[in-house]
Amino acid sequence: MTKGFLPYIAKRLVGAIPTLLILATFVFFLLRFAPGGPFDGDRVFPKDVQAAIDARYGLNLPVWQQYLKWLSDVVLHFDFGESFHYVGRTVNEMISSSLPPSLLLGGLAMFFSVLIGIPLGVFAAWRQGTWMDSSAIFLAIAGVSLPSYLIASTLVLVFSLKFGWFPPALWEEPSSVVLPVITLGLRPLAITARLVRSSVIETLASDYIRTAHAKGLSVRAVLFRHALRNSLIPVVTVLGPLAASLVTGSFLVEMVFQIPGLGKHFVSAVLNRDYPMVMGVTLVYGVILIASNLAVDIACAMLDPRIRLEATEN
């Protein structure tokens, strides 16, 4: 079985190349034809200064030539160019310094949501139909209905401004991780809990669970050892979309908490029309999403031998 994975992974990775190329092309032209430019400030430059700036950043070339140049730099030299906004800094170095905080934030939020979401869902399923179940359902609905800036502002108002337990922003000491992770993780937590609940309820109705109960196994053993394992597949399949929602959620969370991550850079780069930076971050996000979808498909195949990966079949 492990033998089958490698060709499958290779095939998927090759398939990702055209996807990324289309994403890059689409975003490149969308940006160039969007109104506004990188150097449209309040100041109006004299014509020759403007021409010099354009020449310096290659903006005087036709758009398709700019595109080809950008593409060949990326493909041949893995060079994403120079930031238009932060003079003298390359996109490569900005991404490599802002990727770690974003990955840490996203990873911890994922961990937090699964760690609490799964037990909560199992618990709700076990107590199905009781008030405890309904409160868990309500919590899940509330969790997806809370915009992250509202979670953030409530947490900051209470835990940093009133009690002073955690710093209200920035990414400096270990304790500054807490509030952003909760903010980002709450929505995936709610989604996970809900899915685990409905999935476990379905599993609990099956014959082998009745057998396990009849054998006299403890409730905990039945729930966590027997029911949960078979209920995990639908949960794993949403981890892909969950990773995506963590990525999109990170824009706001990073902005609100002033975390120097990819999301914050992306938003300011779009607003400043910092073309090379936008392109760089877009591609990094694309790679993260493709990789997490691939990881999910592999995890599903490992959890359930009945699921076959496409490439292993022939």
């Binding site: 996807t19 994403l23 969007a34 915009p147 509202l150 502002s153 995506a244 999109t248 996000y285 999403l289």
Partner: protein, 281 residues
């Protein structure tokens, strides 16, 4: 069938309460001038940054505008974006999904390629870029959010059509010589309407939330127009000294989103009990 639906639905207390709540705010938004004492754009510098009082139930903002009026008028924008985006993306998604599922073959694989491509794109990221491209404003936001949300519906409808195609009623229609288009639109679509409505209901809060995100990062409507997201953004900046500026718009938005999600839950239990249509997934 209809009676059955009503009976089941009215038993769902949370969904009923949500429906009533949503009806109330929709009426409030539509007839905003009747329900507010002053218009949303009236500035009164002498009364700026007041905390809630008898004159201004929810206080005033940095320019002395009545926060309650701004929230009532903001509902127009937020609700309109939510409902219109959901309708637009659902129509496109349904059309693409239905044609792909029913025609099959090359049409299907081509359309699904496109769908998969959109599916892998980080949607809010693309929405941000599209808003920049189409310009800030109602139309730009509407197009940006619709273009990034139709794929989920296309996938759903395609699967539903694929299942329905195997059903006896479709086979008999075909045997009777009914044209393909008529089978698809007059027979199959009405039969899979339940899950589509559920999906529509869950799309509305998702769109409202996305719009509020766009507004929050500064890509929303130009002042003095505002949505709940714009208000939350303004409130967030003044949060430390004047928490009421974010708590009121935020709470209204939160409760509205809960109501839409609970309504979707109710619809799902009644219209699509076997399906697993869900928010977030």
């Amino acid at each position: 069938m209809k009676k059955n639906f009503l009976q089941k639905f009215t038993k769902h207390r949370m969904a009923m309460a949500s429906l009533i709540f949503l009806a109330v705010i929709s009426v409030g938004a539509t007839f905003a001038p009747t329900f507010t004492r002053q218009s949303y754009e009236v500035q009164n510098i002498d009364e700026k940054l007041e905390t809630p009082n008898a004159q201004h139930w929810m206080g005033t903002d940095t320019l002395g505008r009545d926060l309650y009026s701004r929230i009532v008028y903001g509902a127009r924008m937020s609700l309109a974006v939510g409902v219109l985006t959901a309708l637009l993306s659902l129509s496109v998604g349904t059309l693409v999904g239905a044609v792909a599922g029913y025609r099959g073959g090359k049409t299907d694989s081509f359309l699904m390629r496109v769908v998969d491509l959109f599916y892998i794109f980080p949607s809010l990221l693309i929405a941000i870029l599209l808003t920049v491209f189409f310009g800030r404003g109602f139309f730009g936001i509407l197009v940006a959010l619709s273009l990034t949300s139709w794929v989920t519906h296309a996938r759903l409808v395609r699967n539903l059509v694929l299942q329905a195609k195997e059903m006896l009623y479709v086979e008999s229609a075909r045997a009777l010589g009914v044209r393909s288009a008529a089978i698809l639109f007059r027979h199959i679509l009405p039969n899979i309407m339940g899950p589509i409505i559920v999906s529509l209901t869950f799309q509305i809060p998702t769109s409202i939330m996305s719009e509020s995100f766009l507004s929050f990062i500064g890509l929303g409507l130009e002042p003095p127009y505002s949505s709940w997201g714009t208000l939350a953004n303004e409130g967030f900046r003044a949060m430390k000294s004047f928490p009421h500026l974010i708590l009121f718009p935020g709470t209204v938005l939160f409760v509205t989103l809960i109501a839409f999600n609970a309504l979707g839950d109710g619809f799902r239990d009644v219209l699509d009990p076997v399906g697993k249509r869900d928010f977030g997934a």
